[in-house]
Symmetry: D4
Subunit: 253 residues, 8 copies
């Protein structure tokens, strides 16, 4: 029930076509989403041009294809944690679906890149690339320019410094690191823009599937670092996209 | 050693006042921060008008006052985790220091509020206010407009919804919550701007001094939520300030 | 040995048919369950019409079918954590067995639904449905009316609110949620009846296979929420059934 | 804004005293709690005769007395985790306040005991009594008859069995236990009514301040056991009160 | 109610002095401990000559002295975790009470040492002595000969080996160790009798208040090692006493 | 080098056949095991008639058969954690090997049962049987009479009590329990002999693969309970065997 | 850009072939690794004769062979955590590659053994050998003499002592142990040289995949013990190699 | 009993002054440390000139002064974790004792600095200095030259790089860091000598009293890093001293 419907009710009351009691009954069952929380539905299908996101882990192929079918024709679609078998199933429903194997991401529809500032995605090791790519693709699908800086871990800090320009020019930096997760602190100490840190499950032993870099990042001695869940490349890309968004807004004005 | 100094060396080489070997020796000891990492020093004293920050926990009174003395006259100063005895000591060195008792924060110097969009700080319970205030004061010191929404926890979700306008209009939202930390997910589901979540150590038993809300927030089913360390109000305020900053930049253009 | 038997012994002593020593020997071996703990056996086969429950995980097919065979003809039977191969084996012994694939539950026998108040089962995400169904089926087998509210997670809180009537009318609410587990707190804040919260292992990273929502639920800032083990849909359905039961009792009077 | 107010608006629209647009504006800002979530406010001040609850830990004396002052004259008041200094402060505002030292609970106002079935509170050791009393007093303040069974731990199981009648007759049983927490499983195996289990922080070493009994209780091999947070006597009493409540309702009809 | 009482009832029924119904009523309330579980009460007051044990932590002075008062005149009494103030209070009730300061143990009554084999108590460091003494005193109070081997930690393994005779001749060995807890494995590898291992909270950092030696001991690569709770000197002494006991029994026959 | 050899050296020195320096050199290289630690080797092949034990997990088939080959002809052999493929390999080397499928235990050689008191093995659930059998078989191989009490968990405590005689007559009781592990406390409260508790990994969710019952057992409120590692049936059987052994010794005298 | 290049720039400035501005621009982009941090690149390809190391876990076959191809002809190559399929792939690119199956290590190129002191590698159990071999091979590839002492665990401490000479003569000792990890403390107490301790994931139950020996080792009561990650044989071998290296240096002078 | 004594016995046997039996008896009680494990006693009083070390935490003043009294006259003495009251007590026994307040270290006796290479001690934050000083003083007392680099944390990495010469010239580097512990990885990536990493308990929230930097350091992506216990400055200084020692040895040859 939207504004129009409420207005309609009120108009009917005004005109006498509806009694006060009838109106009261109708308004009583007024669903919450009608009250103007414009965004409420946006966590799924965001503003025009924004993608519909499907987190595939734990969903059956049937559930996933059902969701895809319900998405209007050419709308942008981002499916994460999608194995090859998911892609095969989605492909049948959305012929324009493209599969990114390493990050296990499916994208369908056409991405428009607006005039946004850059988001840099830095990752520590070769094994962190799948998560980094999930972040990068998510940010791109949300309409951001993305610069990738892979394999720039702390053990060879000169590789990171060799590309300092990319970091310093970015409006947001996503840092993806397993092992000791120290890259987030180094980058946080270098740049003056928000750093979104993603611990990964890459490591072994006292790494505890990502707990080690998670704690490192939460305890970063550099301010300006906030953290998302272990391996949550999507979350980092989404968060970075939100941060980067208001530049666009300003540009438009 | 800055650009000027390097230029000076080169000029002396050019003019023959300095041998190549002498120049090489001088350049060899070239400190890293001279190489153009403009920001490198900014983690302490940020750009003009930005505060010097002192994290007081674990520092002796002598160490704190020594640091305060080294800060130029009227520069903005933010001291966190500062007990009353710290304030007494700082007050002697900086007469303009003001103490915020609940969040145990000292501020000295004059804050200029630029034309930034609002940062909303929402906290769940009465006991979360000290951390929320640390976040709010930090954001204010960094030059942001801050709106406070305290005691709007999930158990009485109508209190939160009663103030939805503040949340929906904010450019960044900081959510401070102990107990179950569920407020972050609710707010993350309502707004379409970045949410910085701060778990607090408010709780008992299986709360494990903040681990419960920390995990809740890291696992938020609403995207657009990033997390800082338990009780890290400063970190959240700082992060929110960075995010909010680029609007200002855009405004200036 | 029940009251009748003890009385019998005493009568025989009284009549001289049994010596004091003989009686003493008989009473000495008096098994505990004869002392009037009527319920003691009921944890397995509850009161008339109540199901025999088999937890299949960790049991061999032989053990399970052996147990099923010992259950009288048409008695209600609920088998949880039962894979398809378990169903195949049970089917041979109980031809009336029906398999519920998602929650991996087998039900045999006929359920009578008495005039009980409703139990609502709300679940947060699509992946939580198997656990939610285990809870719902358990409650139904115990003779309750169950209303299902699936996919009403906190990230889109309006979906939950759209069905508030179901929640508000229920006599007990079961909340099933993985990820951040925040749904339990929201529901606990809305209803004035007992909420049984079931954390699920749906999630990843710092979710720790259900620890995150478990802690969220144990720390719920809404009172009236009690928690069962991770993924323990059966336990929640059983608990809710016990709570709902006394209405029936009252109805009977 | 309640029904009366909405009705008022509609009547004014009907009568022409208010335009549709004016009505729409008024309804737009309609706070959520006006929509019929009758219970929403009840988490604080429940239905008539129900207490206002203050969790004192982490609140200043000023905050607590401020809350107490806002509670209408003779309304029932329950303050938990209240040190003697809290009682001194509350006493000044509510002269009828009574202090329970062991459970650190303050009660003010007069409790009416309706015709409810009994709630039994069983505790394992002497040191668990404070938490057990918090549960018992909470249940009493909510209008329940409470039977206490203290010091009936598993190490001397005969003491428990000696009082089996109390357990078997109760409509709900609260089990409070530290150390190994095994009492919950034993009681859960004996009774056929819901058991609310409260782990306590009583113990040492590998007890981890209550984690040991918490896990024991969550893994109870007896169904019909649900768990609240460590030391959460209030939560258990509240939950038990909700469960016990519907008998009252039935009695009334 | 013991055998004699039951016999008495039966005799009265036989003689006609008591009706069957009267007997039934009496037997109905038959407390569990009368049924022949000879030991049931023994966890408190063990067989003749065995001590009454009071765990003082978490009990008020009033509760402790109340318990002491209920213990018959000269019966052996062991109170553990007893601060000096507890001793002062107990002293007033039991004039023969003796205080052991380091292990915070009170003993009252006279210990008889029967012809039992020796229990050896080995401890790793100076700081483990309080727990070791709690174990040694407990074993002594239970009537065992105890040999103490203190400060024989693994870092100087020769000190341990210098006293190997004591270990090899003991019937049971109690090993008390904090830090790395490695002593239990060494001793377990040397002796062919049961080893009761007690981890202590002596240590810091990644010791986690005794978790480190607890895990070491649970994972001992030497078989014949069983573990009690962290700092549970009493439990180890008690267990060792039980193990040592059957030799006495054999001696008697 | 044994006493005889040292004596030999000394005799040669005495007789002048060996110089002091030569003797000193010989004594200097004196291996430790020659010094009379008779038992040192016994952790593997214990006293005559005792089994050689092989823990198969983590060993290759080659390593295992190599070890088996080195064991003298008919010596008793116990191999634990042995899959069927291990049995196939061992069978080829030791034709008298017998496989116990559930506990995955191989036994070869003939067990002599001496006149020892009984060891009772009580287990809580059907799924705990494999671990219980590992304990029972180990105890039997070590020459003990074993009584099995399976499926006597706390949820139906009457089943346990129905067999109380077995427990009360045993010289040692092994309690094997997963889930809540509460059985150890109950049994510990019933018997007056040592209880060896074995937590099992049977359970799910907040069971954490055996951590829940491990903590329960370490915190047992009944004294006389010591704990071995999760699923360590062998360790419990071995420990119980050591405890039971000294009766035999006494019998012999 | 190395010293030579900087010198070149300066010479050109001196000679007037390059303006100061041009030189400044060139120096401005000076990559960090040119500044004399000679070692910076050495974490990968160390000094002449040192191996290139590839950690294979989490890398695709393509990534690994790509890295191998980039390594100059005959340079020493060490690949760890390499399954047989990795070896097949590497073999095609480097014909001189040799596979060590148990530690899953590939070595290619020729190792020169300089006149270094010995590194001893002691391991506790048969199942620890793979990690011990990874350490030993790493140390050998780095040019060290290695002595292996396998299966010398604490349960049979005489086996360790029988080889004390090897330990006492070594310049560094690597201790590899799972289970209780106690071997590190024993060895640390025996030798007067640095001990590098490697906990392994060999164990079960409360071993937590290596956490138990990790904590044991971190809490070693013997000083002179430092720890690397669980199963990190490579790290231990590398660290030991670094420690042993300066003897070589001294030898050379 | 040392070589001289054994020689003495043998000489007496040779000369006939002692019978073989008498000699055998004397040798039988031969303490282990006489057998040539030269180092065995050295963990306490190392080679000539090395300090006696007392870890004061958990020891009573009486125990500490007793130990100090037993140390010969002017021998070097290092007491760690010593509060001011410990110093007062030690001062009375050893007049030459000097107190270092921040690291709570007492040193008595005169330190000789041999011709060893340098040990660098780098610490991240001001609050890490006490632990860093414990490490530095320990290394100095062991006869090493120590260079201190304090407050060079990762957030301002230029401060570290400004002093790179000290790091690159050191023979061993000790890194002391709380918070995120990232400094160890950075330094490990810069130097080519062993790095001993000390996590500190400096931090809050998800720092868990040092667990965060402990995990960071154990997972360091730079090889050549080994870790000691949280806050174990002594252990790091001792380990570094052992590593540095063999240069001295080489120098002597």
């Amino acid at each position: 029930m939207d504004k129009a419907q409420i207005k309609n009710i009120l108009t009917h009351v005004q005109s006498g076509q509806m009694s006060v009691k009838q109106a009261l009954d109708k308004l009583k069952s007024l669903p919450f989403d009608d009250l103007g929380f414009a965004k409420i539905d946006t966590h799924r299908s965001l503003r025009k041009g924004f993608p519909e996101v499907i987190y595939c882990a734990g969903k059956t192929l049937e559930q996933i294809t059902e969701i895809v079918k319900r998405i209007p024709g050419k709308q942008l679609l981002l499916a994460t944690r999608a194995g090859p078998e998911v892609f095969q199933a989605v492909k049948k429903v959305r012929a324009d679906a493209v599969y990114h194997e390493l990050p296990r991401v499916i994208i369908a529809g056409k991405v428009k890149v607006p005039k946004l500032l850059t988001i840099a995605v830095a990752s520590a090791g070769t094994s962190d690339i799948p998560v980094a790519e999930e972040a990068a693709l998510t940010a791109e699908v949300l309409g951001n320019r993305v610069k990738r800086l892979y394999d720039v871990g702390v053990a060879g800090v000169h590789r990171l410094f060799a590309h300092k320009d990319i970091l310093l020019k970015a409006n947001v930096v996503i840092v993806v690191a397993g092992m000791d997760g120290a890259l987030a602190s180094i980058v946080g100490g270098l740049v003056s823009r928000p750093v979104i840190a993603v611990p990964t499950s890459v490591g072994y032993g006292a790494h505890f599937n990502g707990v080690a870099p998670l704690l490192t990042m939460l305890n970063s001695c550099a301010p300006g670092v906030a953290v998302v869940n272990i391996d949550n490349g999507f979350g980092a890309g989404y968060m970075a996209g939100l941060v980067n968004q208001n530049n666009e807004k300003e540009d438009d004005e």
